[in-house]
């Protein structure tokens, strides 16, 4: 029996390896010819873009768009599941990538004509267009919804030994992996390398690929030994056309910016996503007018470009301030909110559980290289296939995880995750109800004493489910309670919070010990109400947002304040119950839920700050 089950897991693992190998890693030289007998077979062409009209595609770009690993972007939605509540938002990553390519080329024309950077060559045009087209190559299906598994995936890629850097974004980690290890893409980029003129005599194909990877990574310092200062100068100015570098810099007499870069990626998505999601319909009349003005200026490149030290480029002046303001507005309408947080938290858990299964299978039967291919086979699928395979993996794990995973809490977490798939199809209904959750104020008992907490909850009668929302303000209250319990110095509090937020951003499930957290909550709740399974869904964007805000937080009270004020629509997570709860039952679940959260924070504090608990 055990041997049969192991075979099932092995077959599943290798099915995913096969999916990756066949679809995205097979050599296609014989199927698709770019050149034959020195003559180009694939010619340049054009496409019609909804924002910019006709976009010319050089022959090498057209060739790249035909390669399966690149053309898969035409089957990945730019805004993942946003279309479920903003139906127009179903445009693809490829549409955006072509838009970025078009904008980058136009900017480079201007930089050259205005002589903002010296010695721009035809090779620079080739590099910037390829890097623009490929900048989102590593986006998995479900897009940014899966950002919460970044740390785990990077950790798996690190097992390859020579994987450079620790990217903090999932798509960048996967892009670097593909550029360095994917034969189909490597061969295609090598084909483009033949288009270079001057640079072809100075660098080889491997260094060319690393230049592209370095630009996509948006790292200012070289992540590859082979990239010397002269190449990095080129990389810097080309990167600041497509993206940006962080770090405060003086860009004018009295003008400073936290990021430098023209960022054609952002110039494109801010108007493209708004266009498809029809966001202007949700704006108030004044903001809508401002947005329309901004959109026109954006498309016409009607803004000031400044070179910095002849090596970096950035946008300056009023345009950037208007864009920053509008970005906030659009971000909150399209990318934030309880609905989005819930969907992302749910999908992140599902994908994490699948990768945990693949990691455990791979650990016993495959090399790190094969394991990485299996994980890529899973992540690089189209949206609908990812759902299908998630179902397949978790259905098997539901029955047989005990053979694969020793730790009881982890095993339960994986087994239960399969049940969550059943609600994915009903996300629009859940999103609708999440627009208007019921506010609750409850007195909760914890080991640190009683506390009044404000949070929200909803029952989902049509699905017979219920959700408790772990609001940021309730989390702030809990932190404050625990930290006041034991007097700690300001810097000790800050480093604890910073470690927790940075750690969760990198490795959310481990840092919050979600397996034990869920197990404890479930055990405690079982003794109070009958038959209500629960699921903990952590929200990666909560940790990312507060971690980003940390540069402005110098005191613990500012941390609490920031949680309460700036994360009103970004909860730390959700507790999903598999049935609706009556009022009397809701009251019975508050204590165990928040007591478990307190216990987890206590475990994180450990002995360091000598936190003792009242008996």
């Amino acid at each position: 029996m055990i041997s049969n089950v192991k075979n099932i897991f092995r077959d599943l693992f290798y099915e995913l390896v096969g999916h990756y190998e066949y679809n995205f890693a097979r050599r296609i030289d014989e199927e698709l010819k770019y050149k034959e007998g020195g003559q180009k077979i694939i010619q340049s062409g054009s496409v019609i873009d909804p924002l910019y009209g006709e976009i010319n595609l050089p022959d090498y770009i057209r060739y790249l768009t035909f390669i399966p690993i690149v053309s898969r972007l035409s089957e990945i939605r730019q805004l993942a599941h946003t279309y479920l509540f903003l139906p127009g938002a179903s445009h693809t990553r490829l549409e955006h990538s072509l838009g970025v390519m078009y904008r980058s080329k136009k900017i480079l024309d201007r930089v050259k004509n205005d002589n903002l950077i010296p010695n721009i060559t035809d090779d620079d045009y080739i590099i910037v267009q390829i890097a623009s087209l490929l900048h989102d190559l590593g986006h998995p299906a479900w897009g940014h919804s899966l950002d919460g598994i970044t740390g785990y995936v990077v950790h798996l890629l690190k097992e390859l030994g020579d994987f450079p850097s620790f990217p903090r974004k999932l798509d960048i980690a996967i892009s670097i992996y593909l550029i360095l290890y994917n034969d189909q893409l490597k061969k295609a980029i090598d084909g483009c390398f033949q288009e270079l003129k001057d640079l072809r005599n100075k660098i080889d194909t491997e260094r060319f690929r690393k230049v592209i990877a370095q630009i996509i990574a948006e790292e200012e310092n070289p992540i590859f030994d082979e990239l010397d200062d002269s190449i990095m100068k080129k990389v810097h100015y080309l990167t600041t056309i497509i993206g940006s570098y962080r770090g405060k810099r003086k860009i004018g007499d009295n003008e400073y910016r936290d990021k430098v870069g023209i960022d054609t990626d952002r110039l494109d998505w801010i108007i493209r996503d708004s266009h498809h999601a029809a966001i202007d319909k949700k704006l108030d009349p004044d903001t809508r007018k401002d947005f329309e003005k901004f959109r026109k200026k954006n498309i016409e490149d009607d803004f000031e470009i400044r070179p910095i030290k002849g090596e970096f480029l950035t946008i300056s002046g009023e345009f950037i301030n208007v864009m920053d303001g509008l970005r906030e507005t659009i971000y909150s309408l399209v990318y934030e909110g309880l609905e989005r947080s819930f969907i992302d938290s749910l999908l992140t858990r599902l994908a994490y559980a699948v990768i945990l299964v693949l990691d455990n299978i791979g650990e016993t039967i495959a090399s790190p290289t094969t394991k990485a291919r299996s994980v890529m086979g899973y992540l690089l699928m189209q949206d609908f296939l990812l759902k299908e395979y998630t179902n397949k993996v978790l259905s098997i794990a539901e029955d047989y995880a005990h053979i694969l995973i020793e730790d009881e809490h982890t095993r339960n977490f994986v087994k239960k995750s399969g049940n969550l798939l059943r609600i994915v199809g009903y996300i629009p209904y859940i999103a609708d109800l999440l627009k208007d959750p019921s506010p609750v104020t409850a007195t909760v008992s914890t080991v640190f004493g009683g506390i009044d907490l404000r949070f929200e909850r909803i029952n989902l009668p049509a699905l017979n489910k219920a959700i408790l929302i772990l609001s940021a303000s309730a989390v702030a209250d809990i932190f404050e309670l625990i930290m006041n319990f034991r007097q700690m110095k300001n810097e000790d509090l800050l480093i604890f919070f910073k470690n927790m937020m940075t750690g969760a951003r990198v490795d959310m499930f481990q840092v919050f010990n979600i397996y034990t957290l869920e197990y404890e909550m479930q055990s405690d709740i079982e003794s109070r109400i009958n038959e209500a399974d629960l699921y903990v869904l952590l929200n990666y964007y909560f940790f990312r947002k507060i971690d980003d805000e940390f540069k402005n937080i110098k005191r613990a009270d500012e941390f609490y304040k920031s949680l309460r004020r700036n994360l009103t629509k970004t909860p730390m997570g959700f507790i999903l119950f598999d049935r609706i709860l009556a009022e009397s039952e809701w009251k019975k679940v508050y204590d165990p839920i928040f007591a478990s959260v307190c216990n987890q924070i206590r475990r994180m504090l450990g002995e360091t700050f000598n936190v003792t608990i009242q008996s």
């Binding site: 990077v154 620790f166 790292e219 962080r246 770090g247 470690n499 750690g503 110098k554 994180m604």
Partner: protein, 120 residues
């Protein structure tokens, strides 16, 4: 990631002394840790400077400029406590990824300590 910057500052100071040149530390962060150990905690030097300013405000270091040279001086009582907590945290939360961060920094520090001994 000012927490990891603090850890690197403290451990670095244990090898080179409590006062050192900013450029040398930048080289340690981006070359010895970044390129050689394949881990970058900052998008670039400016991002690192932001962390140093933050740690200065927390009272963990001082920064002194003389001409083009900037000297970092660590404040032992504050910085050592922060560094210890950064080192201990991954053990308490059992995160392999975070342990790997510390291990890679420590490997770069071992190389640095070895080269210092050879130079002496």
């Amino acid at each position: 990631m000012w927490n990891y910057t603090a850890y690197m500052l403290w451990k670095y100071s244990e090898i080179v002394g409590e006062s050192f040149n900013l450029r040398d530390f930048v080289n340690f962060v981006f070359v010895e840790v970044g390129r050689k150990q394949r881990i970058f905690f900052h998008d670039g030097e400016r991002d690192l400077y932001g962390d140093l300013e933050y740690l200065k405000d927390l009272g963990a270091i001082t920064l002194k400029s003389e001409g083009n040279t900037v000297t970092i001086r660590v404040k032992k009582d504050v910085l050592s406590r922060i560094a210890k907590e950064v080192e201990e945290f991954p053990k308490r939360v059992k995160s392999d990824v975070l342990k790997d961060y510390i291990n890679r920094i420590n490997r770069a520090l071992s190389d640095l300590a070895y080269s210092q001994r050879v130079l002496k």
